[in-house]
């Protein structure tokens, strides 16, 4: 079969990952529960004054989303690496980057998308004005795939290394900073009535650049790990 672009491979691996996740639903739900619990801790720790909560809401929800994505990252390649599937994927005729993109897409559908959908609900607890809710969801919609792409670089670099999880955080979190800044910036700008277009465009640009370059770095790191 002619699949030089790897589109078929990309879709199949995404389907496979989704199916595997559905077999172990509680594993897939853990990052989301984590997201909800972390976001809930802040009002309890900081105080329940409506004005304070409104100011911190975009930042807290974004940081919680970022941590939830990061916590689910080690899972991305680990199981496939342990049972040898990854090696088979690297040896197959379809490009490895296609599999990588498929896996990241499945990962996003399982963590990023639900987080983006859940965030407006949590934002209501933070008394965020309803006009900002949509912007918040939109920033997460565009931002979480970037988090997945950058995070996958870290996940592939720390594959099979001792202390991989905490090292992954050290590698990936600094690279998450721009996404966090523009993501929360968009919500703040919308709340201030400035319009979120500029920040959203920058997030979109990051997504495009990340989508173009990240698979290259990830496949390079995976091949290093498989050597």
């Amino acid at each position: 079969m002619n699949d030089s672009l790897g589109l078929y491979a990309c879709c199949r691996i995404a389907q496979r990952d989704l199916k595997l996740a559905m077999r172990r639903k509680s594993d897939a739900a853990t990052p989301l529960l984590f997201f909800v619990i972390v976001a809930t801790l802040f009002p309890l720790g900081i105080g329940t004054e409506a004005d304070t909560l409104r100011t911190i809401a975009p930042g807290v929800l974004w940081v919680a989303a970022l941590l939830a994505t990061m916590l689910s990252l080690p899972k991305l390649f680990e199981d496939d690496y342990a049972d040898g599937t990854l090696e088979q994927l690297a040896l197959s005729s379809a490009p490895l980057s296609a599999f990588v993109v498929g896996k990241i897409a499945a990962h996003w559908l399982l963590t990023g998308l639900p987080v983006a959908v859940l965030a407006p609900l949590l934002a209501l607890q933070f008394h965020l004005p309803s006009s900002s809710l949509l912007v918040l969801s939109a920033t997460l919609m565009i931002g979480t795939p970037v988090l997945g792409l950058i995070g996958a670089i870290g996940a592939s670099l720390t594959l099979g290394i001792r202390g991989g999880g905490i090292l992954l955080a050290l590698l990936v979190l600094p690279l998450y900073v721009p996404v966090l800044i523009f993501g929360t910036g968009a919500v703040d700008a919308a709340a201030a009535g400035l319009g979120a277009t500029a920040n959203l465009s920058l997030l979109g640009a990051m997504l495009v650049i990340g989508f173009f370059f990240a698979p290259w770095a990830i496949t390079a790191a995976l091949r290093i790990a498989l050597e």
């Binding site: 670099l157 720390t158 290394i161 202390g163 050290l170 600094p174 290093i224 050597e227």
Partner: protein, 245 residues
Amino acid sequence: MIDWFKYSSPKTFYPIAGKAIPWFAAIATVLAVAGMYVGFFMAPTDAQQGEGYRIIFLHVPVSWMSMFIYVIMAFWAAIGLIFNSRLSGMMASALAPTGAIFTFLSLWTGALWGKPMWGIWWVWDARLTSELILLFLYLGFMALQSAIDDVRRADKAGAVLALVGVVNIPVIYFSVQWWNTLHQGASVSLTRAPSMATIMLVGMLLMALAAWMYTAAISLMRVRCLILEREHHAAWIHELKEIKQ
């Protein structure tokens, strides 16, 4: 035509580096003494900032070097990935600690300057934040390398990380232009006349060159240690004078 690959062998590089280190160290010392003399005794007191401005003779050179070393490190990392040469990875690993120290010094001296001038130690300004991220990138690079026992894999994984992190460098450099920040814009540029007194500029450039030479000396010393550590099984190592003793 120079055979570059000949010099990329640890065996040829080790003695050359050993001969070069005293020169770099001597030049660094001379330049640093001259730069500090210019900075402390010849440069006039600033009309607005008083004596406190003199920290730029340390702050600007270490900030430049913090970015420059990262680019050089990424360059060696890329060479290592492309040509699969052992020495390139060692160069990248040898540069990282110096880069991290310079980045830390840049933040530290900046804070010392910021307290009297801005009234605060730290602001979440674009340049300060991106410099802080640079420090984290250096630390992440070193942490990743030390977590991997297989040195060849450590070199390659570190190289990929270094190349990914290189996107941060233009962000730091242009942050004062892209965002309207508290940190002032560049006073020195290649394309236009510097907006500072010539004697101050001379002091700063002397210190920058000193920092550069220091980096060369110290990273070559570190490379020599890495070569000894990694090539300890090679026969030529045991022929060395310093090992035989």
